[in-house]
């Protein structure tokens, strides 16, 4: 990993220390070029015209789906559908699967609201939602799923890595239980796909949702991968049909079926370029580097008297998303001071995971999250600033 070269692609880092990548990552110049390149050089609609630009953009848009598929080990397997974000992916599955009264969904206390609300809303239709809890280490126990997944369980939907405490979940073990019991498994990969190799086949997934904007892509880009794309499309209209008459219509095959209307084409070009960027850097090298930074960040925080860190501490068992509190200081104040005094951007509050925050027995936390462009010096600067805050300096 050539850190200097990487940082040159993020000129914004000359002015700030960005430790909020779990919220949204920064966007490197090549991704910006890809987005602007579309508007500048081949701006046209996809799948709708015979003219040259339409041909070019259609091919690139299709290639973007393939590139993303390859990135998650899904070449020629299932269907990659472009969405706005992970949230839209989860909602697509919630609205597209056929639900009957008494069907059961199993999820966990670790989830982001986006992997809770689409399922909670199904309670109105008589669907039961079971929430599996964890110990304070924040790692799910597969044994709990042996009992939670019943014959009526249609779907198990879990985060791969907590967006609050970063803990990585034993998904493969749980997906094997799902297979045995005939339940589908959906993985929220928003915090994992950007940071380490996620392979849909190896994990035995049925659905995978993730967001482009957390993996160097533009905002408004996301992915829903389906092993078997036989869910009902949520929207109907332009671009997703094979044939329409006044009393009949037939949906298109493939991803087009789920992408009604003109899609976010420029975003797709950016996301595709982001996949290339991460592949070029090397996702395994990136993971090792982030582990190293995470280790130092956690160790440094633990050295401070008034600071408590949540979730398992071993950086091998988590991503670089670290939640902590300075005793006696409101997390929002900590975040404010980090920016005010040292130009450090972190997130504070409930991180769109209120049930987990409550489960941890706190009102909120400060969350520092790392990515490939962060440096050891930045981590040290962050730690010394937190120390100052903890000492009331």
């Amino acid at each position: 990993m050539n850190l200097e070269k990487i940082r040159a692609d993020f000129p914004i880092l000359e002015d700030i220390i960005y430790l909020d990548s779990a919220s949204t990552s920064l966007t490197p110049e090549p991704v910006l070029d890809a987005v602007l390149g579309y508007y500048r050089s081949y701006n046209a609609n996809v799948g709708r015209g015979v003219h040259r630009l339409s041909q070019i953009v259609s091919q690139r848009y299709e290639d973007a789906h393939r590139k993303v598929a390859a990135f998650i080990g899904a070449d020629g397997r299932g269907e990659v559908v472009f969405t706005k974000n992970s949230t839209e992916g989860m909602n697509l599955v919630a609205s597209g699967l056929e639900w009957r009264k008494g069907d059961r969904i199993v999820t966990s206390i670790l989830e982001h609201h986006s992997n809770l609300l689409p399922w909670f809303r199904l309670r109105q239709r008589g669907v039961e939602v079971e929430v599996v809890e964890t110990e304070t280490d924040g790692i799910l126990d597969p044994a709990d799923f042996e009992t939670a997944i019943t014959a009526n369980t249609k779907l198990v939907t879990l985060t791969h890595a907590s967006n609050v405490i970063g803990t990585i979940q034993p998904i493969k073990e749980i997906s094997e239980i799902c297979k045995e019991r005939g339940a589908l498994i959906l993985l929220d990969g928003a915090q994992s796909v950007p940071h380490f190799k996620v392979d849909v086949k190896e994990l035995g997934l049925d659905f995978l949702c993730f967001s482009g904007h957390k993996m160097l892509g533009p905002t408004g880009t996301g992915v829903l991968w389906m092993r078997n794309p036989d869910i009902e499309p949520p929207f109907v209209g332009g671009g997703m049909i094979k044939e329409v008459t006044l009393d009949h219509y037939e949906f298109a095959e493939g991803y087009e079926r789920f992408e009604a209307g003109t899609p976010n084409i420029a975003g797709a070009m950016g996301l595709s370029r982001a996949c290339d960027y991460l592949t070029d850097v090397g996702i395994d090298d990136l993971r090792l580097y982030e582990e190293r930074l995470t280790r130092r960040l956690i160790e440094g925080l633990l050295e401070l008297d008034k600071v408590e860190v949540y979730g398992v501490l071993d950086p091998g068992m988590r991503v670089g998303v670290v939640s902590f509190n300075v005793r006696g200081v409101n997390p929002h104040d900590v975040a404010h001071l980090l920016d005010e005094t040292s130009n450090i951007m972190v997130r504070s509050g409930h991180h769109c995971a209120s049930p987990l925050i409550r489960h941890l027995g706190i009102d909120g936390s400060v969350r520092a999250s790392l990515y490939l462009y962060n440096t050891e010096d930045e981590v040290e600067k962050f730690l010394s600033t937190v120390e100052d805050i903890s000492k009331g300096i």
Binding site: S41, R52, I56
Partner: protein, 250 residues
């Protein structure tokens, strides 16, 4: 590649309904950067190799990295080349051979080949035998076969209704496999015309041999470029038009 059709067979005054084995031919429309540039009539095999080889042998690209995307959908091959989306003017129908091939090669800018390459005549005879022994050629008599060889033997041998197509396919295979063409030679069942030798030297293949004839223009290009051209490679003999063979003691 092969099809059986009902035919009326006439032989020595005798007429009978019979089945005959024929070679398949398909049109392949090539689109580059959204524009239809050519339709080639080819045998339905190694289509991706054909497309890549064609782009190289016609000097549309020089580097594999220049090809951003190839999508093949039945009779259409759509290619995106990494450059501004200007018009690549190549539009015409390429026939399956007989001078319908190439192209926009500028013969005044013929690439130069290292004159040091020498073919071992014994290996060439063996190679040609291999090239001519392919199934399609034997069964139908309606195809050309072309092989790419190096000192260790055959890298790839393929057949097509057109000798240009077959050559493009072996070149495409070589590109995909990252073969260093300067250590290879081509053995072909079909005659060596100017466009055949031009395709070879465009990617740096220093020698081409055929079991059949060689044209005057091919020889001119062979001399200008330094490439080796050998015709009538049959039985135990051959005719060397340009370049030189390896001596027995080499």
């Amino acid at each position: 590649m092969l099809k059986e059709v009902e035919v009326l067979r006439i032989s020595d005054g005798d007429r009978r309904q019979d089945l005959d084995t024929i070679v398949e031919e398909m049109p392949l429309a090539l689109y580059i950067n959204g524009r239809h540039v050519q339709t080639a009539m080819i045998s339905p095999s190694m289509i991706r190799e054909f497309v890549i080889g064609h782009l190289f042998s016609e000097r549309v690209v020089k580097d594999y990295d220049e090809i951003e995307s190839i999508q093949i959908d039945e009779n259409i091959a759509k290619v995106l080349i990494k450059r501004s989306f200007g018009v690549i003017n190549l539009k015409k129908v390429v026939l399956s051979g007989c001078g319908g091939g190439s192209s926009f090669l500028d013969e005044s800018r013929i690439p130069k080949i290292d004159r040091g390459f020498k073919i071992d005549p014994e290996q060439l005879l063996r190679s040609m035998k291999k090239v001519l022994s392919l199934d399609l050629h034997k069964k139908t008599g309606g195809s050309h076969s072309v092989g790419l060889f190096d000192k260790n033997g055959a890298i790839v041998i393929t057949e097509d209704i057109g000798r240009h197509n077959a050559l493009d396919k072996v070149i495409g295979h070589g590109v995909i496999e990252n073969i260093n063409f300067k250590d290879t030679f081509v053995a072909s069942s079909g005659r060596i015309s100017s466009d055949m030798i031009l395709k070879c030297i465009s990617v740096g293949i220093p020698a081409i041999a055929s079991k059949s004839a060689v044209t005057n223009l091919a020889i001119e290009i062979g001399k200008t470029s330094g490439a080796t051209i050998i015709g009538f490679v049959r039985g135990v003999g051959m005719v060397v038009y340009t370049g030189s063979l390896m001596q027995a003691d080499e």
